[in-house]
């Protein structure tokens, strides 16, 4: 099973400009991590909406809140407990406000 760990941060998102902490880097290097992306600080975001059939751009992230999506890690594990264990480990490193764990649709033969 593949799971996406949606990594949420708090505050200004200044950390996004810094180097990856070695303890996080070591998690990202694991064989069960199948991919990851880091997002630049939420202040750099532009949100695109459609209003009255016109494209409307707003400065900032889609959800304006104290917490922001800072990145995404894909893990390939047996079941939810495997994904929760990685999330708990990352959370204990103290760089994240919270991590949302979501299963990823598997591509099936004759696909959806």
């Amino acid at each position: 099973m593949q799971y996406a760990l949606l990594i949420y941060g708090e505050g200004e998102g200044e950390r996004a400009t810094r180097d990856i902490h070695p303890s996080i880097a070591s998690v990202l290097d694991r064989p069960n991590v199948s991919g990851w992306v880091r997002l630049q600080r939420p202040g750099s975001a532009t949100t695109v909406r459609l209003e009255a059939r016109k494209t409307l751009l707003t400065d900032g992230p889609f959800v304006d809140s104290k917490e922001f999506l800072g990145g995404l890690i894909l893990v390939e594990v047996d079941n939810l407990d495997g994904a929760l264990a990685v999330a708990a480990e990352l959370q204990e490193l103290g760089f994240t406000a919270g991590i949302e764990v979501r299963p990823v649709f598997e591509l099936e033969l004759g696909g959806a």
């Binding site: 047996d78 079941n79 939810l80 929760l84 764990v101 979501r102 299963p103």
Partner: protein, 396 residues
């Protein structure tokens, strides 16, 4: 009664089917089909020699048939794929061919990634065999709400791949806490409504838990607690009416079960158990002794209240205090509690008021308790008490 037979087998059959089919919803549909078929055939053709094996095999075959029909649901597990190639013959007779996987199922149902109310409902439904209607009634929510809650939980288990397994050692203790809470709830469901089957089911689950985790004092504590309470099941009702502990016919108590409970409790205490279940079991043991050591009982309730901060424990402590220092002191202990929706708060108050001769107030409290009571034996008991009190309007 066939319904009782079904209730006995439901959890066992369903757990095995979840193990085979890898999906709770699919397993539940298949089990339901098999039970419906049994309801039709067993009264006509007689019960099979091994009902569990019959039900599992029938349900599995039905599920496989359905999967064949619905090709999009291509094989869920390797085992199933094998069975699709080599369909099993007609019902087998050895139960031994089907492992008891209720423990796996209970850890799935009590997984902390599910909301607590969903954990409880799902365990009652899948292992207790309680209907969605009954669960909805027990938790005072509309049927549709409960039905959605169960469906949502089953879908989350499937979509998020919540494991169908006994957790590994490092997370076992925390996962156990949730399971124990749910098992005790199932026991109480069987207890309050006089449904002995469910209570026995809860005891069986707890026994399996104690075997699996012999060092876990709280699991043993819970088992001992349930055994003590269960040992009085035959004395607890007379002519369909609830009988209080003091008025129970002690010859109806299950002495063997009390002895069993005592041994389990000793084991829990030897493991240095001081948790809530061990304390409650110790109190339950004191309640089986005559004369009762109210001082010790009140002390243990005090410790339990410290540990849990529960107003319900306060109600129990008040009962013990009434024996030690009289109903007036006990009543004072209940004064500032905010338990208006709790049946035993009102019945306890009513009893204390009755003993103080404050019959009008006792009448009001019994009336309030009766309005909250669901189980028939309990309603009859409260009604009898109410009848014994002269209603306020009848005084000359």
């Amino acid at each position: 009664m066939l319904e009782d037979v079904f209730r006995d087998h439901w959890g066992r059959v369903l757990a095995t089917l979840v193990g085979v089919l890898g999906d709770i919803e699919l397993a539940e549909d298949a089990a339901q089909e098999a039970f419906a078929l049994a309801a039709e055939r067993w009264p006509r053709d007689g019960h099979p020699e091994n009902p569990t094996a019959w039900l599992i095999t029938t349900a599995r075959n039905r599920a496989i048939d359905r999967i064949r029909r619905e090709r999009t649901l291509a094989a869920k597990t390797e085992q199933l794929q094998r069975e699709l190639r080599d369909p099993p013959e007609e019902p087998m007779d050895e139960a031994a061919t089907f492992p008891d996987e209720r423990l796996e199922l209970i850890f799935t149902c009590c997984h902390p990634a599910l909301a607590l109310d969903a954990q409880v409902a799902l365990t009652l439904r899948t292992l207790g065999g309680v209907t969605t209607e009954e669960i909805a009634r027990a938790f005072l929510v509309p049927f549709e709400t409960m039905s959605k809650r169960l469906t949502r939980a089953k879908h989350k288990i499937r979509d998020a791949a919540i494991p169908f397994a006994v957790p590994p050692d490092e997370i076992l203790p925390e996962r156990l806490d949730a399971v124990l809470a749910v098992v005790y709830l199932i026991f109480n469901e069987g207890w309050g409504g006089g449904r002995v089957d469910l209570a026995a089911e809860a005891i069986r689950l707890a026994r399996a838990l104690v075997e699996l985790m012999p060092d876990e004092a709280e699991a043993a504590g819970l088992l001992a607690l349930m055994l003590f309470n269960h040992s009085r099941r035959d004395a607890r009702f007379r002519a369909g009416q609830l009988v209080l502990l003091d008025e129970q016919d002690r010859s109806l108590w299950d002495e063997a079960q009390i002895a069993d409970a005592g041994q389990v409790l000793e084991r829990a205490i030897a493991l240095q158990g001081t948790g809530t279940y061990v304390l409650q079991a110790a109190i339950a043991e004191l309640h089986t002794q005559q004369p009762r050591d109210w001082e010790q009982i009140a002390l243990l309730y005090g410790r339990l209240e410290q540990l849990t901060g529960s107003p319900i424990v306060r109600v129990n402590r008040a009962v013990a205090l009434a024996e030690l220092e009289g109903p007036e002191r006990a009543l004072a202990l209940l004064e500032d509690l905010d338990l208006d929706g709790y049946l035993y708060f009102h019945s306890t108050r009513a009893d204390l008021l009755r003993r103080l001769g404050r019959n009008d107030e006792a009448h009001d409290a019994y009336t309030r308790a009766l309005a909250l009571a669901e189980a028939e034996p309990e309603r009859r008991f409260l009604q009898t008490r109410l009848d014994e009190l002269r209603p306020p309007s009848a005084g000359f």
